[in-house]
């Protein structure tokens, strides 16, 4: 998967944050809408789209969307 595609899929998990707020270097955990629901959705999205199982700890270890993309690729 391309990084840009990942950023788009990532942004689609948010309902109240406009898509132009998302880029590879977005510090996603600082977003207003970030929380348990979006975290669960990201875990499910990565599972569905990349067939990779990431954990809450994985997410907490990442700063940016690109960090998470790279981490998912190593799994």
């Amino acid at each position: 998967m391309e990084l840009n595609k990942f950023v788009t899929l990532f942004s689609e998990q948010f309902d109240n944050t406009s898509s132009d707020q998302f880029s590879p270097d977005t510090a996603f955990r600082a977003l207003d809408e970030w929380g348990s629901l979006t975290a669960l959705s990201i875990i499910a999205m990565v599972d569905e789209e990349m067939e990779v199982r990431i954990t809450g700890a994985d997410i907490r270890s990442c700063e940016t969307i690109e960090d998470l993309f790279k981490l998912a690729q190593t799994k």
């Binding site: 875990i43 809450g56 700890a57």
Partner: protein, 250 residues
Amino acid sequence: MYNPFSLHGKTILITGASSGIGRGIAIECSKMGAKVVITGRDINRLNETYLALNGIDHLQIVADLSKDEDLNSIVEQCPQLDGCVNNAGIPKLITVKFIKRESLSEIIGINTIAPILLTSSLVKKKKLNKSSSIVFISSISGICISTLGESTYSASKGAINGFVKGAAIDLASQKIRVNSINPGLIKTNILELSGEMFSAEQIQDKLELYPLKRMGQPEDVAFGVIYLLSDASSWVTGTNIVIDGGFTLL
């Protein structure tokens, strides 16, 4: 000694006994004098439970309740029973938009369909003695509350709640009682599994919502089960017993 909660002379089947709540129930029932028949999928972990049982004459049957042949095999191998504890279950955290037929079938299959079919088969094959007690380990989730990502888990447990009531009516003519225990957060491997999703701090935050300020232990559930299996509860059927440290009060 006078003890209306004794399980002496009773034979009890316990599913999902290889770990967690099921293991706790099996051990405590054996301490109360029951002969227990334990089942689970993992032969080594089931044997660990078996070795921890009090007394002799217990049985262990390795089986996967999601497979019909294993379920039938349990029923065939079972001696006459005075009680059955439907405990085997799995957790699942998934948000609504990601629900797929496959994952939904898995959780409903294990948490709802398997224990209902096992109960039906035990009744049909007349394995349950008159005045037996059937106990379902349900949850507060799906009956009292739910939480983020738990919609399918809640659905699987909510269905059990309905079954308990209907089965209690159907089986009353044989004096067979059907009840459930609805635990809150219990310290088990299942929780460690979801610990992959939640940090220690998040679990600590959750504990703040429990007036008694601690997580439940498998024994907290087991003691409720013992009451429902014993003759002390012989006028209790079709009910839910919430064991949750006060969580649902808030």
